[in-house]
């Protein structure tokens, strides 16, 4: 579904991604772990072209997305993204946060969009918050709305960039539960996370990133159970 060939990304002189090869299959849940500054966010942001790729290629369903001929907006409709800081639109209530993209971009009818929004709110357990504004929500609630907002575009792939890192501990679970449900329903997901429990339980595959390369990859039991790379061992010993 996603195929990435020798992906390079530099910010000026700073080379952040140094040749990443990776394939993500349909319905797969891939968890990306690694120390801070290793390029995990950059990697994720390249997949929906929030960052311009320096070299290499990214294919989604066989279409090369980092090509001047590809319409970026068409690609992004299919790739949902959930940010660490939620990035809800503060001037809109929850309902409008969710319906704006389907209405404006997918040209969905108002009634249909609202209907969809309520379905998604039910899924994330926030039906009663449709009229609330982001500033009236807790962090966990905001992140669940952000997930619903991304899902409203009916994406084929969901990218999560440390979705629980900005949350108070007691709110982490409610967000992870929503993500688990998504995974069970067969959503293709790439999740950058520090929640090793989630990676272990839900990940079909775990990628360990360090210094802009994928140092090690495998099933959770391989990576967490018998890490081969010394950097992985070192990292895991610090976080587990």
């Amino acid at each position: 579904m996603i195929k990435i060939n020798s992906l390079y990304k530099s910010f000026g002189n700073l080379e952040v991604l140094k040749g990443i090869d990776c394939e993500i299959n349909e319905k797969e849940v891939v968890c990306v772990i690694g120390p801070s500054g290793s390029g995990k966010s950059t990697f994720l942001r390249c997949i929906n072209l929030l960052e311009e790729v320096t070299d290499g290629s990214i294919y989604i369903d066989g279409v090369k997305i980092n090509d001047t001929k590809t319409n970026i907006n068409e690609i992004r409709k299919e790739v949902g993204m959930v940010f660490q800081q939620f990035n809800l639109f503060p001037h809109m209530n929850v309902l409008n946060n969710i319906t704006i993209a389907p209405k404006r971009i997918r040209k969905m009818h108002e009634v249909e969009a609202v209907d969809l929004a309520y379905q998604l709110l039910e899924k994330v357990g926030l039906q009663d918050k449709a009229e609330a504004y982001p500033e009236q929500l807790s962090g966990g609630q905001m992140q669940r709305v952000a997930i619903a907002r991304a899902l409203a575009m009916r994406p084929k792939i969901m990218l999560f960039d440390e979705p629980t890192s900005a949350l108070d501990p007691e709110m982490v679970k409610e967000v992870l539960d929503v993500m688990k449900q998504l995974a069970v329903e067969g959503m293709t997901m790439v999740v950058v996370t520090h929640e090793m429990g989630f990676a272990r339980e839900m990940g079909d595959r775990v990628l360990f990133m360090d210094e802009g390369v994928i140092m090690e990859e495998g099933t959770p039991s391989e990576v967490f159970g018998q890490p081969k790379n010394s950097r992985t061992q070192d990292f895991l010993s610090k976080v587990l």
């Binding site: 940010f83 704006i100 952000a146």
Partner: protein
């Protein structure tokens, strides 16, 4: 007291039509100049954020020019040189005056609007773009509605500044408020009454503007929740990040 007894406001009364007309002209010039200045300023402000050189540089030079030269010079230049050379004759003081005020106001507004847009967290644009919104749409739906709130106080200051600066169009014989007092001063060779009157009238106008701006500012400050629903007591439990 001699001085007080010698004050003659009756001569202002004799010219009341001129003052009322001046009031309307001043308000008209300010309104047209300001509304045009906000719209043009919006495009200039966005232009100054463009990465495309042939958009950025014209906008930058425009702003530099109109902020770097006296408004008085701009008014004379437009009235006596630019408009006659384009149309072959003058289009009257109002067109010249309103145009000059608008072009000048736009330059100041452009900076306010640019700064307002830049003050919105980068994540907002990214979230909108990640939903597949084209840049223009994201600007319109997501960035500008938020940025405008932050622009209200400085844009309000610009309105008051423009209202006062509009008095400069008197130099091209506009029948504005200041002009009315000059006529009275010329006719009676008295200066206190006409200029105190005009000062009070300007003060009144700026006071009304200040009140309106304060109201708008209050209405749109702090919270995005519509007023009628703010009475709900939602608990603002810890917001992450």
């Amino acid at each position: 007291m001699d001085f007080l007894e010698s004050i003659r406001f009756d001569m202002i009364w004799n010219y009341k039509e001129l003052f009322i007309r001046g009031l309307w002209v001043t308000l008209g010039l300010t309104a047209v100049g300001y509304i045009g200045g906000v719209i043009l300023g919006l495009f200039l402000g966005i232009g100054k954020l463009s990465k495309i050189k042939w958009i950025y540089y014209p906008c930058k030079y425009y702003v530099d020019f109109f902020r770097g030269t006296p408004l008085l010079v701009q008014i004379l230049l437009i009235h006596l040189a630019v408009i006659p050379s384009i149309f072959g004759h003058s289009l009257g003081y109002f067109v010249s005056g309103a145009t000059a005020l608008m072009l000048n106001c736009a330059a100041y507004n452009a900076e306010i609007i640019r700064a307002g847009i830049q003050s919105i967290e980068k994540g907002q644009m990214e979230a909108a773009r990640s939903l597949g919104m084209p840049k223009r749409e994201a600007m319109k739906q997501i960035i500008l509605p938020q940025a405008f709130r932050r622009m209200i106080p400085p844009l309000g200051n610009e309105l008051i500044a423009l209202l006062k600066d509009s008095s400069l169009v008197t130099v091209i014989a506009a029948n504005d408020l200041l002009y009315a007092s000059q006529v009275v001063a010329g006719a009676y060779q008295r200066f206190y009454e006409p200029y105190v009157t005009v000062a009070i009238l300007y003060l009144l106008l700026t006071w009304v503007c200040t009140r309106v701006i304060a109201y708008v500012e209050k209405r749109y400050s702090n919270s995005y929740i519509p007023r009628r629903r703010r009475t709900f007591s939602f608990s603002r439990s810890s917001v992450g990040g």
